[in-house]
Symmetry: C2
């Protein structure tokens, strides 16, 4: 079997795949194959191992006359024309598991950084702009506060586990209530979205980007939140109307926000950059050495199991 | 009863005390009474409610001829000559409880901020100094990592609860092993200090400052740590030889550090200020609105219960 890997990732996680199959990576010093390069090479490959942002188009799927499986390095698969792959009988796989706990850590880390003003203080301390008095740099405790989780999937639940251990009460909104057993694990209570807005001290977005979730945080929904509320987004940028959130943060209509994802992808709204009540990270929700290696092992396992039997994380 | 409060704190937490007794606060606009002012006023007071950094000296205790109790606004009481107060039959009380969970949150927040590079990325993102690539800004996952807690008291245990929920393994070193029931709550294992140094991915200091703990983190002990290790200090500055830690961070001998306390008190070593693998906060471990009000309620309760019966948190 011939496997084409589009990105020059560390090899640690690929060791089993490399042992079993004929695997092509970009040459040393080249970060990744371009779309054009892959288009030219794809006819002779059985497997494409694509990165999260590599476009797997109709054109590419048509050219891949020997293609049996596209193993995507991501929990999402927006980069792939899945419907067309399904029509052609090409299997698409993803890697949901390795990203769950690290993304929940990121949500928790942003929450603590906003509520306890960690990033803000670190920045001002380095430029000698802060006072150390008893009533300076005050943030909010987590203990006894209410966390509203919008989207109670794997990541929402992993966040609930952490927040409960920090003494928070958990409420959530989801397309439908989760299993009562899961609710009882976290003492989590299902509420309407309006109740979530009104009752939460912290709202964490953990839902996918769909027409229903698009701009779910906007001027109107922000107006229903507590003046001490904090918003955390480690899910998808378009869930928030970034301009309207920036206005609310600037006027101190709410307490703060922690954002790992942005409407403009790798472009953060200028309005956010000089605010001290927001913590901004460059989509690092899953950016750890551990995740990189675990995901490489996961895409490899999806490919090997597809050919040899075993669990394959299929999305079609 | 006449109560003298040295600091102009928000009144919310003091409402019951104010209702029951004759309470004197500094005048509006004055942050706190000076030592000299208190020395002059103290003879007519039954109660002194001191702040954590207000010196309660032999001289002051001698002048306080009607003094029955000093209710200190702090978990610590290094600001008070406790032995001399004991000789004179003056009761000293402290406020350990309200600080436990917020300090554990701070340790967790610093750990996440260092391991996931939150403060570092936030700072560089605002100045457009960072790349967003797949192998940029990589940190470390918490899941499966080993947290070594040095000092398994209330705060150490509250941190263990959080870290366990994030999938970490807990080892600890303490003057003596804690109750097996507590160990089993957190799957925590007692180890020697040398084992703690060698086996931990993160070491959190949660011990008091004593001759035994002074500079417990130094060049020699750092040399026994993993090259990927992170050190968190939310306890007391002198536990770390700050200069030797800065050297180790600069040469990347270890991965990072999160520091809320410093050897020089409110003065951070210059060597630390330009390092990107350290997160620095200005002793904000208990700096929340919630803690300020809870501690005011706590010092009030210590005073009221002393006179009317009930639990008093005495240190002598």
């Amino acid at each position: 079997m011939k496997v084409l890997v589009t990105y020059n990732m560390f090899r640690d996680g690929y060791s089993e795949l490399i042992e079993k199959y004929d695997v092509t990576f970009p040459a040393e010093g080249q970060e990744s194959f371009s779309y054009e390069e892959v288009l030219e090479m794809i006819p002779e490959y059985d497997v494409l191992q694509s990165m999260y942002n590599f476009p797997v188009t109709k054109e590419l799927l048509d050219k891949g006359v020997n293609l049996k499986i596209v193993s995507n390095y991501a929990a999402g698969f927006e980069n792939i024309d899945v419907d067309y792959a399904t029509q052609k009988g090409i299997v698409i796989t993803n890697t949901p598991d390795p990203v769950t706990e690290p993304t929940a850590d990121m949500a928790m880390g942003l929450m603590l950084s906003v509520m306890r003003r960690i990033a803000d203080c670190d920045r001002r301390l380095r430029t000698n702009e802060l006072e150390w008095g008893l009533l300076d740099n005050l943030g909010y405790s987590l203990w006894g506060k209410t966390l509203g989780i919008y989207g109670m999937g794997r990541i929402g639940q992993a966040l609930a586990r952490r927040a409960k251990a920090a003494g928070m009460k958990i409420i959530y909104n989801n397309r439908r209530p989760v299993d009562p057993h899961i609710e009882s694990l976290y003492d989590a209570k299902y509420v309407s979205f309006d109740e979530l807005l009104a009752a939460s001290d912290v709202i964490s977005l953990n839902a996918p980007n769909t027409p229903q979730t698009h701009h779910i945080i906007n001027k109107e929904t922000i107006s229903k939140m507590k003046p001490t509320a904090t918003i955390i987004n480690t899910a998808r940028g378009p869930l928030i109307n970034e301009k309207e959130l920036a206005d609310a943060l600037r006027s101190r209509q709410i307490y703060g926000a922690g954002l790992d994802v942005f409407e403009g992808g790798h472009k953060v709204s200028e309005e956010l950059l000089d605010l001290d009540n927001v913590v901004l990270t460059p989509h690092t929700g899953t950016q750890t050495y551990d995740v990189r290696n675990e995901m490489a092992a996961f895409v490899s396992r999806n490919i090997i199991n597809f050919f040899e039997g075993g669990t394959v994380c299929r999305v079609n």
